[in-house]
């Protein structure tokens, strides 16, 4: 093999590697965050779906246990990725926990759950704080809507 051939081959390999590296890196950098976001979203949807079903059908104790499990997992998702958009699911679950406590007439538990909901909801950009009653109404409206569409 002549010297010229060696140089040509080495240049081809290097050029290919550099172009491939750039394209692979750029493509993955574009895809990865959206892929991760979609995965987190579908995981939180799965948790919310289970929480709603348990709230609707299960006995109060079992429902509370399931909702707590979902809330714990959602909290962990948020710790895992602070940018993960699980706030709405988390607030809904804490409000449902408060509603379950209301059914048991457990005011203390209800207040504690609503405090967690408010903490999860807290946004420095909010113009005014959302009251506990508004949050409870919102969750009841979700249930009413689901009933009306048979979901």
């Amino acid at each position: 093999m002549t010297r010229a051939a060696k140089i040509t081959y080495a240049c081809s390999l290097l050029l290919g590697f550099l172009v491939g590296f750039f394209l692979g890196f750029r493509q993955t950098a574009e895809i990865l965050p959206s892929q991760e976001e979609a995965r987190t979203f579908s995981a939180s949807e799965s948790l919310l779906d289970f929480a709603r079903a348990q709230f609707r059908y299960a006995k109060a104790d079992e429902a509370a246990k399931s909702l707590l499990l979902c809330a714990t997992l959602l909290e962990r998702l948020r710790q895992r990725d602070p940018g993960a958009d699980v706030k709405d699911s988390l607030v809904e679950i804490y409000v449902r926990l408060a509603l379950l406590a209301d059914r048991r007439n457990d005011d203390e538990d209800s207040r504690a759950s609503m405090a967690r909901a408010q903490q999860a909801l807290h946004s420095p950009l909010a113009r005014r704080p959302t009251s506990d009653a508004e949050l409870k109404d919102h969750v009841s409206a979700i249930d009413r809507f689901d009933e009306s569409v048979g979901r």
Partner: protein, 203 residues
């Protein structure tokens, strides 16, 4: 004449011999030359192979850097992070299976896709590292069993699925495990994916 010959031997002939030798050397190379097509093909193959290697390396490095950055921002320990990643992947798969066996499934293949969903959920339930989300997997399995029973052609198989679903929802602490309750979750699930249509109808 002698003068001419001596001049020929001393001056012109050696120079001519050198010229002939040089031109012969340039016509016959020391190493055999390949045609241009072969050189070009080898260079092209190397370019493509280098590109493929680079693409894999670039992708891998970006994944590692992304995971490193996420770990840096995460409030969880490395072990907890890995465990949570597993849970997220499993829950995401549950939603994916729900979509594939429900709104995205062809009507004539629904029994088969439900069966696949049930098999996959059973595989996930057997994993020890997913014990934490077992109730969620159980609920999805019970619902899939009921939906499978509705599509299954064999009444015995349908009855078996309904009984299996009933046992699961009883373990989940449901107040009502009657056939009506089971068919209610099936009916609600049938509307999964039709939310947009339902919302328009309501408007």
């Amino acid at each position: 004449m002698n003068v001419k010959r001596s001049f020929w031997h001393s001056q012109i002939a050696p120079a001519r011999r050198e010229t002939v030798a040089v031109s012969t050397a340039s016509k016959v190379p020391a190493t055999p030359r390949k045609p241009f097509g072969v050189w070009f093909s080898i260079a092209l193959v190397l370019l493509i192979a280098g590109g493929a290697l680079g693409w894999i390396a670039g992708k891998r490095i970006e994944v590692l850097s992304y995971l490193h950055e996420r770990q840096r921002l995460s409030a969880l320990s490395e072990a907890d992070q890995a465990h949570t990643d597993l849970i997220v992947a499993a829950l995401s798969k549950v939603t994916q299976m729900r979509l594939l066996a429900g709104p995205l499934a062809k009507p004539d293949l629904q029994a088969r896709t439900r069966r696949e969903q049930i098999d996959n959920l059973n595989l996930l339930r057997q994993r020890a590292d997913l014990a934490e989300i077992k109730p969620i997997l159980d609920f999805n399995l019970a619902r899939a069993e009921v939906l499978f029973a509705e599509k299954a052609g064999d009444p015995q198989q349908a009855a078996q699925s309904i009984e299996s679903a009933r046992a699961i929802i009883q373990a989940l602490g449901w107040e009502d495990s009657s056939d009506d309750a089971l068919h209610d979750i099936a009916k609600r699930e049938a509307n999964f994916g039709n939310l947009g249509i339902a919302r328009k109808a309501q408007e």
